[in-house]
Subunit: 144 residues, 2 copies
């Protein structure tokens, strides 16, 4: 899907910003009706805040922007499968859809049963898995 | 333990503030070496931010205050068992100990397997379960 590629490319460019800033390179955007209402990247080191994942920052920005704690019409594009914290936050927001580039077999929410997401939320893997993973691997390789 | 009662009473008074502000009444404090470094209550409605749980606000305040993304020496006192989002955040912070007044058989993190918490984190139920639950029940009863 062209739409998926368009938005995931922007999430990926956010991940590249994180990489340049010395953060684990993950980026995200939140979209409603083909309009981006939030985009950000991981800022855990910059803010020294373990909750400052790309998804959490986008979620807070989007709900604040909309003045609504729910994101029932929104799609999250994120370069890595969300962790349980982020999945839990997306559950509270009742987000409509989650599209992630790379799955995370160690820390991804899909490891957990019962499912953490809201029952109305759908999720699927989208484009640019290789690009997202390459960036993350390069980050950790350089720090070894 | 006197210490548990002292700190949980402060968490409970934060929950009472939340109640008066029309928030689901949950309060929390974070303690290191018997010193409170963060205290707050649920602010989801006020901020229209589904991530603004008492635990999340305390966690961000504590790590920002310490300029350290880890809380390996800290104890969280919270009036209700944390949800998966908060448990996930506490996992990233590698918090030492979680003490909660009331367990949450519906939405508490302990429903989830594998465990969401960091392996070094301990958790237990503390004092004032009845007081914490009474406040929450009163809140929902008034809204029915």
């Amino acid at each position: 899907m062209e739409r998926d590629e368009y938005f995931m490319r922007i999430a990926l460019s956010e991940a590249e910003v994180a990489y340049r800033e010395g953060e684990i390179p993950v980026g995200a955007v939140i979209v409603i009706n083909d309009e981006i209402i939030a985009k950000d990247h991981n800022r855990v080191e910059q803010l020294r805040d373990p909750t400052a994942h790309a998804e959490m920052l986008c979620l807070t920005a989007a709900t604040t922007h909309l003045r609504n704690k729910y994101l029932r019409q929104a799609t999250l594009y994120v370069t890595l499968e969300p962790c349980p914290m982020c999945a839990g936050a997306l559950q509270w927001a009742q987000i409509r859809e989650i599209v992630y580039a790379a799955s995370d077999p160690k820390l991804g929410f899909s490891q957990y049963t019962p499912a953490i997401l809201h029952p109305k939320t759908t999720h699927r893997q989208g484009p640019f898995c290789d690009e997202a993973l390459t960036l993350i691997k390069r980050f950790f390789h350089e720090r070894r």
